[in-house]
């Protein structure tokens, strides 16, 4: 049974069909890619599946549960994590706080625990901080734990976002252009990180990327989205040689 199945999902924005009859199946642990030119609707697909938008038509089934139209926090709590193309950190909160808040649903101590520092609170806090530090270590940013997000270099901010998403213990992770704005060195590091988290947690990953090289190296299956419609789906090799993809996505110069 696939971990995530999307059936004939469509979205109308006013009179415009932004996404048309989109289908997707991801097996547990599979790495998939979603490519397409700017404005093709890739991020919209993420927003639909994660509940930011409600699809006009279609069904989304995650882990055997129908999640179509549920509120984003419920969908997230089923094990669907996500990062954003534009960094979305909480500017004045520390790196550690980011990864702690991601474990919100595991914090069970209430007012009394918080105000009087009960042993229950101390135990929970210790467990949550341990977990947070282990994720920060994995990302190589544990030395920045007490820094405010605002002060971090760009590459480190990306890693915080990744650590935060992992702290929610997702079964599937949606990465929206995780290397946007990175130089080649940072890009190589990010690819290594994605490989590492995939190996370590056995996560399924759905990757939106502009850099074809990255998609081709990481993904088992790649979909190409153009004007809200999937025009091709297959292995990286098949996609690279598909004339429709070359025409629509790579442009004519790729043919030369």
């Amino acid at each position: 049974m696939p971990l995530l199945r999307v059936e004939k999902m469509s979205l109308d924005f006013g009179g415009l069909r932004a996404v048309n009859s989109y289908d997707l199946e991801i097996e547990p642990g599979q790495v998939r890619g979603l490519i397409g030119p700017n404005g093709a609707g890739k991020t919209t697909v993420f927003n639909l599946i994660t509940g930011v938008y409600r699809p006009t038509e279609g069904n989304i089934i995650f882990d055997g549960k129908k999640i179509t139209g549920l509120q984003p926090h419920r969908i997230a709590s089923f094990g669907l994590g996500r990062t954003f193309q534009n960094l979305r950190l909480w500017r004045h909160m520390t790196v550690l706080e980011h990864v702690k808040l991601a474990q919100y649903s595991k914090i069970s101590y209430g007012l009394i625990g918080a105000f009087f520092g009960t042993s229950g609170r101390r135990r929970e806090e210790a467990a949550i901080e341990d977990k947070a530090y282990s994720l920060l270590e994995l990302m190589g940013i544990d030395h920045l734990a007490d820094q405010v997000a605002l002060n971090l270099p760009y590459g480190a901010q990306r890693r915080v976002e990744m650590a935060r998403a992992l702290a929610t213990e997702p079964k599937i992770l949606f990465l929206d252009e995780p290397t946007a704005g990175m130089n080649p060195e940072e890009l190589a590091q990010m690819m290594a990180i994605i490989r590492r988290i995939h190996a370590e947690f056995g996560l399924a990953i759905l990757l939106i990327e502009h850099r074809l090289k990255m998609v081709m190296e990481l993904c088992e299956i790649v979909q190409t989205l153009v004007f809200g419609e999937v025009i091709a789906e297959g292995t990286p090799d098949e996609i690279q040689n598909d004339p429709k993809v070359i025409e629509a996505y790579l442009g004519t110069e790729a043919l030369h």
Binding site: H73, L101, A165
Partner: protein, 307 residues
Amino acid sequence: MAFFFQNLVNALQWGSFYALIALGYSMVYGVLMLFNFAHGDIFMVGAYIGFGVASGLVALTSTGAVALPNWSILMLTIIVSMFLTAFVGMIVERIGYRPLRDAPRASAAITGLMIGIILETGNLALLGARRVRFPSLIESTTYNIGGVFVTNKKIMIVVVSLLLMFALNQFVRRTKWGMAMRAMAFDYVVVPLMGVSTNTIAALTFALGSALAAAAGILFGLAYPVLDPYMGIVFGWKAFVAAILGGRGSILGATLAGFLLGFIEIFVAMIFPSTLRDLIAYSIILLILTFKPHGFFGEPYSARLRL
């Protein structure tokens, strides 16, 4: 010198009211990017709920059904009224603001003003156009400390206010809800991805702000026992000024600016004729804002997406 300290004590009490109310404005703005313009009227509702609860408890005690000392009636009144008013605040959020999350900001501002009018006139319809007297729950005792007269009520008002502000600070720092509130202030879009319901946090923010306004209302009723349905308007606007002066969304800022406003008003009245008090006090604040347009702890950005 004693004259100066006398005014200082008065200013502390006066500033407590402003600070408690300003906190509600600032928190709601910080989390939801909207100013709840009905907040002054929530203060009024809180005072009236306090009046109702206190009168009820006093009546109950006088029938002999229960024997409650006056101090415990007061504490009970504060706690029960804070809960009830928090509930009112949550209803206001649910009915007035939640449907407008994605609407233009002006819609939310107008809604706030309308809710305010509804609360004022609703009160009028319910209790009639007469002022009510807040029961004097504790005997006033005056202490003379080196020529400065301090009443037990004043001490209690300032102490309870400071305790509540400390509790709020702890709540925001130490609980998961507080952490989620702070996160929403910086970027609310990602907050649901952490499994946090932003609706719950929004309702909680309104509840906390309203509870503090209720406490301010009751403490105000103790010091100035005559309540009327429009008592929240001017007071609310002034507390709003304090919230702006402190820096939108800043808890520390709202607290300090609330007290500062109390000090400025009292000390202006100490020097100038009291009819000129607001004119001069708010000219001073205008001047401060000219040089610090974002307030003491505000951030110079306005591009956040929320209402």
